[in-house]
Point group: C2
Chain length 341, copies 2
Amino acid sequence: MKGIRRLAQHLDISIGTVSRALNGRPDVNEETRKRVMAAAQELGYVPNQSGRSLRQGTTNIIGFMIQTGTEITGQGDTFFMSVFDGVQAVFARHKLDLVALLCSSEEDPSDYLRRVVARGFADGLILSATRRHDPRIEFLAERNIPFVTLGRSLTDAGRPWLDLDFEGMAQTAIDRLVARGHRRIAVTRPHDDVNLGYVFVDRCREALAAHGLTLDEELIFRSTPTEAGGYQIARDLLALEERPTAILLVNETIAIGFYQALSEAGVRPGRDIAVIGRYSPHAHFLSPPLTCFRLSLRDLGIALAETLLSTMPAFKHHYPQALVNAVWPMELVEGESDAFG
Amino acid sequence: MKGIRRLAQHLDISIGTVSRALNGRPDVNEETRKRVMAAAQELGYVPNQSGRSLRQGTTNIIGFMIQTGTEITGQGDTFFMSVFDGVQAVFARHKLDLVALLCSSEEDPSDYLRRVVARGFADGLILSATRRHDPRIEFLAERNIPFVTLGRSLTDAGRPWLDLDFEGMAQTAIDRLVARGHRRIAVTRPHDDVNLGYVFVDRCREALAAHGLTLDEELIFRSTPTEAGGYQIARDLLALEERPTAILLVNETIAIGFYQALSEAGVRPGRDIAVIGRYSPHAHFLSPPLTCFRLSLRDLGIALAETLLSTMPAFKHHYPQALVNAVWPMELVEGESDAFG
DNA sequence: TCGGCGCCCGTAAACGTTTACGGAACTATG
DNA sequence: CATAGTTCCGTAAACGTTTACGGGCGCCGA
């Protein structure tokens, strides 16, 4: 005898009552509920997930899908850990569990979703590493599986998404650099599969145009979002006939490699070239400290969770005011890498 | 009509046959199997996870438990991503799915396990951030849930575990430094909750003793495994009356902060002090490049997966020779940070 | 006394699978 | 032709829950 039946037998009451007691139903005597709770504790009873979700059609599990192995987003080393923490802070209030769904680099993300989600694994999804054309969105939408994406795509019209405010970053950074006299400004852009690239570069162009400046095509640097990529960017930049006087690094991870290549060439950020990047835990520990855009990843996680729940009927009423399509602001942290002259 | 029943109705055969066909049972006509497969594909049928695992008592899911928010091990996103990739490479062959079980920093890890695992969520577990005294081990052992831990603890006697070869690292590094003339060598150690700290420092002490040297207590530095922690270590080190001529950094993340504090004081690794650390993607991009111990995280993941499967009856015969208690070797990557004089 | 009502509880169906069992149709063997 | 064996398929039970339904019991007011 196992499970709830064992508990019922032990208490000499019916399994129905046990279930009701455990689930906080009103139609059970307060006295019996106490006894049931105590016995459950004593026997270490935990309801079987499969049985419960088979009956209820719900799992109380939310999946955060991330892709292992690949390097396309260029998020720093603590990025996901921090976001997870924020998401969980919200989910804990609703007895929801967060698990990370790990899609192998060897498997197509859409196939993965089909396998693992269509079989009723999670009640809702958070998608990261959103691609410019992302078939996962359509897949989930037509199946009515609640989801929210971290990152914009071209196919997310009407779907809930959150993203970092890369336009704000572009605008602020460009304005700041131009105000300090820079006229020739370089930018980096991530992989073409990521919509962010277009959004960011376009906004940089606009911001420059507002000052009567143009974005030289040779000043748009692509690379893998890794330390080595940053190194390569600096090498390419230094090799230019006409060097820029400033650069905007859109990824977190590339700053170290970028700094190193400059250092080898005797070029110093903040003196010979202005550098603005993205915050990461080591941004302050570079020489000179990196001027960068920072955001609270935990708060971003909280917002993601609330956005997701606001699309789920069972939780909707708790989050009527949640953001559905929004960019998450970043603040500028002053370092010394963009001092100049 | 939903699920397998719908498929059966559509094909006008019984659900039993459909199930057998999909699961590759021998007692089904090859012709019918083709039809079933085709129809499943066409209708986008995917077996319901709950129904299947309720019946089978197995989920085909392996959980990799990690703790979010907290900073105790100093392992970041890229560490786990790489390990995951290796684990998945093995699991893919057995139609097992890997998910990361995210334990919030606000919840006790043991409580978390009780909640999420005792309810039959996963067939097996990989535990990370193993503590010196880790009640999770006993919990899983007495429930006969297959598991393997990444990291040793005091309570894992007879349990399967894998760990990095910190003894080998200590031995190699100490021997190397002593051979180069160092007599006063500092080491770092992680949080006391992590067994690694004892293992590593003890071995350092032994290795030094073999050369007739002792490990001065004031040369054992503790800190959080973060950039800021590394910074603090360097400050403390520099403030000593009698500075060491070499230091061994046992965590990955602290090197940057350590370098920065040295730099601010005009002390250069490889010239004024020898530094040996752990590999991370930015180790080569420090100035000077860090001499460090590296390992293949993907291979470590593969070994973890094989070790776990070798303890699971259903897969045991595939991995008769798997490591059960083993340390994973690290290789020394020559940088310039331990050149001296 | 009797009907109605509220409180609490037991019964049993249902969720979507897998699989043991049995049987029908066919083949091979003597 | 009888029998045994093989191949394939349908039936139904079982996995562990939740929950709709109905009923027993005590209480209250008429």
